[in-house]
């Protein structure tokens, strides 16, 4: 349907048509006469000065230092600048800090700050503000601290120079400082607003917080004083679009309808089954971003029988058909994964791609070798015991269907899967106790350092769902976190990845993609591999 046709029609005959339709559904008599003027208004064209973005969920908080939500993260880079900036390829460059130097022992960073930057409330951005922010992150102990875990202290040298100490040499530090959660906020505003800061943050970014109507919308207005631009983005200074309106539309079919009804210019998390249709319409631009971090994967618990047997773990990996999962369940969105890191992540080693392949015959041989013989009911047995594994999964968001498909694939080689679909909170507490054989999760982050959280022995009972406890692996993971030389660092992570796969600690499933659909009038909305949205250069046409 063309735009002018729709406007013309509802402008002229909307009342009669409305009445006909409304009578048909039984409500016309009461509401019809009042509604027709409103109908005309609705058909008005999209606002020329506003970019309307539909999120799949609402951020729980907009205080960068007090949230762990991906939706906070996605909105924050519009409002808050970061000390460093991570570009679309994952390289770290200057942000609010223009240059830096590191001490010989790798523990002291000296940052030179961009002069003349002010927060939205007029407070100047300086070395004291940096110290305030970093200390606040430690004090609030929320997700932001995970980004700069080894931070120790900061010292103001002069207004544009700050010296920052880390407890150990800490390689992910620069990337951590580029994260939306470690964004710089106005110290004066934090002191003044108290708890209100979480619902109205004050940063120095290209957009100023205007209004947040819970469960409805987040409105931002352009920061007219924005005078710089991160590397890789055009040096535009002030952003092109005067207003950004973020709506929260959790039902995916409604999100698509909002786009097609011209109530949203961009929608995120486009349902996989709709991507092809929207693309084929020729009207909408689909952007697909391969994410950094861990692919969707199933941790195999090495402490609980029968997955304490390496051969069984290897058999499980061989039995799973990643491509079938991607094609059948996600309509080709996502790419089959081979190791603990996604292909977009720093240090990803393609060597893992040849370590396993989908090979049910091989899986069966491995199970035979381990002494599990096929029983009459299609489930293998050994010493009168059935080959049964417990698979814990969050009962939502594609996890459940993925798990069901894996269940079928494992049954085909004789492994019976006891699938436990759990509510999110229950899943986390249970998996941390190690009552599972298999546990499904994925991880969205910039730096491979997160593998420490997933495989270091100290994180058993936290996120080490494989319950893996190996001092040599712990040492390797620590080395990966503290090695500043990028070539050496990549080598360490290559070792770690191959080792994780050799030990069969997880079943890689697929690298997730962040899928957005944009109306034709939208230009210049960009994304990074952590799925942050850059509004710096976004514009809307008529």
């Amino acid at each position: 349907m063309k735009e002018h046709e729709r406007t013309g029609r509802s402008g002229k005959v909307s009342r009669r048509r409305f009445l006909q339709g409304a009578m048909g559904v039984g409500a016309g008599v009461t509401l019809g006469p009042y509604v027709s003027p409103a109908v005309r208004r609705v058909a008005a064209a999209a606002p020329a000065d506003t970019l309307r973005y539909a999120f799949a969920s609402e951020p729980p908080s907009l205080d960068p230092h007090a949230t762990g939500s991906i939706w906070s993260f996605r909105s924050l880079l519009a409002m808050c600048d970061t000390l460093t900036w991570q570009d679309g390829k994952g390289n770290v460059g200057p942000g609010l800090a223009t240059q830096w130097a590191i001490s010989r022992d790798g523990r002291v960073w000296t940052f030179k700050l961009r002069p003349g930057v002010v927060f939205h409330d007029g407070t100047p951005f300086d070395a004291a503000a940096v110290k305030f922010n970093l200390d606040r992150i430690v004090e609030l102990k929320n997700a932001a601290l995970g980004q700069i875990a080894e931070y120790e202290s900061a010292e103001v040298v002069d207004p544009t120079t700050v010296r920052v100490k880390t407890k150990n040499p800490y390689a992910p530090f620069l990337a951590g400082l580029a994260h939306g959660f470690t964004g710089m906020v106005s110290p004066a505003a934090v002191r003044k607003l108290g708890a209100q800061f979480a619902v109205g943050p004050v940063g120095s970014g290209p957009y100023v917080f205007k209004e947040w109507v819970r469960q409805d919308r987040l409105a931002l207005v352009r920061n007219g004083a924005y005078a710089w631009s991160p590397p890789g983005l055009p040096p535009s200074g002030k952003a092109p679009v005067p207003n950004i309106l973020i709506r929260f539309i959790s039902e995916e079919a409604t999100r698509v309808s909002a786009l097609e009804r011209d109530e949203a210019d961009v929608i995120e998390n486009v349902p996989a089954q709709e991507v092809a249709r929207l693309q084929k319409s020729g009207k909408y631009r689909i952007s697909r971003v391969l994410q950094t971090g861990a692919p969707w994967h199933i941790n195999l618990n090495v402490k609980k029988a029968p997955t304490d047997d390496l051969r069984i773990r290897q058999a499980i990996i061989h039995a799973v058909d990643q491509q079938a999962i991607v094609d059948t369940l996600f309509f080709g969105i996502g790419k089959p994964a081979y190791g603990p890191l996604t292909r977009a992540t720093f240090g990803y080693d393609p060597a893992v791609e040849t370590m396993y392949k989908h090979d049910p015959a091989r899986a069966k041989r491995l199970l035979e070798e381990a002494g599990w013989k096929m029983g009459a009911d299609g489930t293998r047995e050994k010493d009168g015991k059935k080959l049964r594994v417990i698979f814990q999964v969050i009962a939502a968001g594609g996890y459940d269907s993925t798990a069901t498909m894996v269940q079928t694939q494992l049954q085909a080689v004789g492994i019976q899967v006891d699938l436990r679909l759990l509510e999110r909170a229950r899943m986390f507490s249970d998996a941390n106790k190690g009552e599972h054989n298999l546990g499904l999760k994925f991880w969205l982050t910039a730096d491979p350092e997160f593998l420490r959280l997933h495989f270091r022995s100290t994180n058993i009972g936290n996120w080490n769902w494989s319950m893996y406890n190996e001092p040599s692996m712990d040492a390797l993971l620590d080395e990966g976190a503290s090695t500043l030389d990028l070539t050496k660092r990549a080598k360490i992570y290559s070792d770690i990845q191959r080792r994780i796969m050799r030990e069969a600690l997880l079943v890689p499933l697929f690298d997730a993609e962040y899928v957005n659909a944009q109306a034709p009038r939208v230009q210049g909305v960009e994304y990074d591999r952590r799925t942050a949205i850059w509004f710096h250069n976004a514009s809307v046409g008529a």
């Binding site: 729709r6 509802s10 909307s14 048509r17 409305f18 339709g21 409304a22 039984g26 409500a27 009461t30 009042y34 509604v35 409103a38 109908v39 208004r41 609705v42 609402e58 729980p60 908080s61 007090a66 949230t67 762990g68 939500s69 991906i70 102990k141 929320n142 997700a143 601290l145 995970g146 875990a149 708890a195 979480a198 619902v199 819970r214 469960q215 409805d216 709506r247 929260f248 539309i249 959790s250 039902e251 079919a253 409604t254 309808s257 909002a258 097609e260 009804r261 109530e263 509510e423 999110r424 909170a425 229950r426 986390f428 507490s429 991880w443 997160f450 959280l453 994180n459 936290n462 996120w463």
Partner: protein, 307 residues
């Protein structure tokens, strides 16, 4: 009547206390750690989690937490949402207008659709009009509201372009969600009215009224309808209660503000103070509506006395 109301109030307070304690226990005994969820998609070290639990007061014993919660609730202070750090009462108050608007509109539609449909079906019992009305009611009751909502969006918003898809504010944004929400309860009311009217039509006083030579319309309105509405009022009251305490599915499908979505988000995130606040509100709504319904009985039928 007055004594009745006083007694009723005391009972209501007991119900509210029960609801509060039950919610508290269910929330705290169910597995899952709010701190882990708050750290969200990023992950946290055990020390971070401990610190956060301390900050949220989750390290105290269950009894201490319950005592603190009840003491505060008694003063209508439900504390602060774990996430937004805003007072629970504020969070709730912000969602109320949208919920009230939707509930009242849907309730009105349900009654307007349900009562005439039921009466028509009863009067022409066994005829094609009855079959049509009862058949329609069965369809209405069985239709999942999210499906109806998506269908309405597809037909009337996307395809025909008469109404907007999402949001609130303005009658145009109210029509589709109110309709989607009203169809189920409307159908239920229709079936109830039909059976209730049929019941009353067989009563002797109706025959007497006819025998006295009263015009059929006056028999229907003054004698039949008035007496047959009693059970309908009970069910309609419960429906209104359910709508006022939030219509999760419809709010989600139409991306509207509302108490229902607030509750679900809070439950999934284990935002204890917010869940407790919402449940308390829902309890208040149900208790008040039930009291109101009982008072309505007496007004509808003077034969019923409240004692």
């Amino acid at each position: 009547m007055f004594a009745y109301l006083v007694r009723r109030c005391i009972l209501s307070l007991l119900v509210l206390l029960g609801a509060a304690v039950a919610t508290f226990l269910i929330l705290h005994l169910a597995p899952g750690d709010p701190a882990v969820l708050m750290m969200g998609d990023v992950g946290a070290s055990p020390e971070q989690l401990r610190a956060l639990r301390e900050q949220l007061g989750l390290n105290d014993s269950l009894l201490t937490q319950l005592g603190r919660f009840l003491w505060r609730s008694a003063r209508l202070d439900f504390g602060y949402s774990f996430y937004s750090r805003q007072p629970v009462a504020t969070e709730l108050a912000r969602q109320l207008p949208a919920t009230a608007e939707l509930a009242l509109a849907a309730f009105g539609l349900a009654v307007i659709m349900g009562v005439p449909l039921g009466v028509v079906a009863a009067i022409w019992r066994g005829r094609w009009l009855d079959s049509l009305a009862t058949g329609g009611a069965v369809v209405g009751i069985s239709m999942p509201s999210f499906w109806l909502g998506l269908l309405l969006i597809f037909v009337f918003a996307v395809h025909l372009g008469w109404f907007p898809v999402t949001g609130q504010g303005g009658l145009d944004r109210l029509v589709l969600p109110a309709l989607a929400l009203a169809v189920g309860p409307g159908a239920l009311i229709a079936r109830l009215v039909r059976s209730s009217v049929l019941d009353v039509l067989r009563k002797e006083y109706v025959r007497v009224a006819h025998a006295k030579g009263l015009p059929p319309s006056s028999v229907l309105i003054r004698h039949v309808l008035r007496n047959s509405l009693i059970p309908v009022v009970t069910i309609a009251g419960l429906q209104l209660g359910a709508m006022l305490s939030g219509a999760v599915v419809i709010e989600t499908v139409f991306a509207r503000q509302g108490v229902g979505r607030l509750a679900v988000t809070a439950i999934l995130a284990k935002d204890f103070p917010l869940v407790q606040g919402v449940v308390f509100f829902a309890a208040v709504v149900y208790v008040s509506i039930n009291t109101l319904v009982d008072v309505l009985y007496a007004l509808l039928n003077p034969a019923i006395r409240l004692r």
